[in-house]
């Protein structure tokens, strides 16, 4: 009997190994993240007091752009040599593939965020006046929200025309409530207030969309 979690784990490890081997992709992603932070710093002057107040929003927009670039390429590997067909004909469940890809993207995007955050903190001289542990919670919930929908839409876009632009086209509108929550929560915490409402909203959003994506993934994978 094939345990679905076993397949998720094996697929995730395989993806991480492949990511590590094609170091070009990682390096270009890292450099891209750095560039985004620097460009933002020029567009939104870090020394101005107003910029410090919107830093919460800026950082999430930067994460969003980095996520889109990452999401686009993690499925690209599966359509080269039509490897996805090999998965589809096997008895392995489609959901295991989805979870593996989502987790892989989550790890990948989290690494990028972990690298960009210190830069932001440094450039914008950010200080948290509120409970900082909540920031971590928001980072996790928010990244998951972006990644679960992003993985789903990236799979959807695989066989559409203009594949790379379809992903942000589909992802951005639906992510807006989650983005609003992430940005506002970050701003609130940095300004010393709690963000309980936004955290609950994000958690609910994550729950609903993860469930629905899992329910619909097999259908989408096998759509012709």
């Amino acid at each position: 009997m094939i345990a679905p979690t076993g397949i998720t784990r094996v697929t995730l490890l395989k993806d991480l190994r492949l990511e590590w081997r094609s170091k070009d992709a990682i390096n270009s992603m890292l450099f891209f993240s750095l560039l985004v932070v620097v460009v933002f710093s020029f567009s939104f002057d870090p020394t101005a007091e107003e910029s410090r107040q919107i830093a919460g929003g800026l950082i999430w927009v930067a994460f969003l752009f980095a996520a889109v670039v990452a999401l686009n390429q993690t499925w690209a590997r599966e359509i080269r040599n039509q490897v996805l067909d090999a998965y589809r004909i096997s008895p392995a469940p489609a959901n295991s593939l989805f979870m593996a890809k989502t987790l892989g993207n989550f790890i990948f995007v989290s690494v990028l965020e972990a690298l960009m955050t210190p830069l932001f903190i440094m450039f914008y001289r950010l200080r948290s006046l509120g409970p900082a542990w909540q920031l971590l919670l928001i980072a996790v919930l928010g990244t998951w929200a972006l990644v679960v929908n992003g993985t789903f839409f990236a799979a959807m876009s695989l066989r559409t025309r203009s594949r790379e632009i379809m992903l942000p086209l589909l992802l951005f509108p639906i992510s807006i409530p989650a983005l609003l929550a992430m940005v506002q929560a970050t701003a609130d915490i940095l300004n010393g207030e709690g963000a309980r409402f936004w955290i609950v909203l994000l958690a609910t959003y994550d729950l609903v969309f993860t469930t629905v994506c899992l329910l619909l993934f097999e259908t989408v994978l096998n759509a012709e």
Binding site: L170, P173, I176, T219
Partner: protein, 231 residues
């Protein structure tokens, strides 16, 4: 069936004219805003109608995912297209109303912002339908429709909370409404719904015709003794 359409069209047109009369003549002039306020009779019903259409889209998409009926897919397509147009009317009349009354085009007020996001979601749905390849389109679109519809409550709720934290001028106004105004509003809504139905019906017929043509070619190709039917 063929006679029903023209009859209903005439009825709808009559209703629309009556609704226009109600909105421009019968309804009383608003106290503070004057005649400009009459755009309200277009701004609000267009949104309500659009949401009815998006609800139909949601239902049709779910039906397609379960039963795979082509008619369900067509209903989903048609309701989304017409809904996007009606919602656009709402989005455009908002600033047209706001400008003379409050002096600004846009305020990021709760309703208008949420409507904008909803509109973006359904435009992305239409884009997916255009960019995906034939066989996949109904399935992918249906999946996106479900996700989009589930997102709407989150959109409205999150933006509402955001606005209570950061209040801005509200377009559309709240509070009590004169019964004659409510009457005109409801008549216009009814007229809009009828009009939307007629447009959807026309669009549905058009889509069905197109698909029937494709099917005819495919059948000819199936039955041809040698090779596919040349056009």
């Amino acid at each position: 069936m063929k006679r029903v359409f023209p009859i209903l069209s005439v009825l709808t047109a009559t209703l629309l004219i009556y609704a226009l009369y109600q909105a421009l003549v019968v309804a009383p002039t608003e106290q503070t805003m004057g005649d400009v306020q009459r755009i309200f009779y277009y701004h609000v019903p267009s949104a309500w109608t659009a949401f009815i259409l998006f609800f139909v889209n949601f239902g049709a998409s779910i039906l397609y995912l379960i039963k795979r009926r082509p008619a369900a897919d067509m209903v989903a397509l048609v309701s989304a297209e017409v809904g996007v147009v009606f919602l656009l009317v709402n989005l455009v009349t908002g600033p047209i109303w706001a400008r003379p009354v409050w002096g600004i085009w846009w305020t990021w007020d709760w309703r208008l912002t949420s409507t904008l996001v909803t509109w973006l979601i359904y435009v992305s749905y239409l884009m997916l339908r255009r960019f995906s390849s034939g066989g996949q389109t109904p399935t992918l679109a249906a999946a996106l429709a479900v996700l989009g519809a589930l997102c709407i409550p989150f959109v409205y709720f999150s933006i509402w909370f955001f606005r209570t934290q950061h209040p801005q001028p509200v377009i559309g106004g709240d509070g009590s409404i004169d019964p004659r105004m409510m009457h005109a509003l409801l008549i216009n809504w009814l007229a809009f719904v009828c009009f939307a139905f007629m447009v959807c019906w026309s669009r549905y017929r058009l889509e069905k015709l197109q698909r029937d043509v494709n099917q005819a070619y495919a059948m000819a190709s199936l039955l041809a003794p040698h090779g596919s039917a040349r056009r």
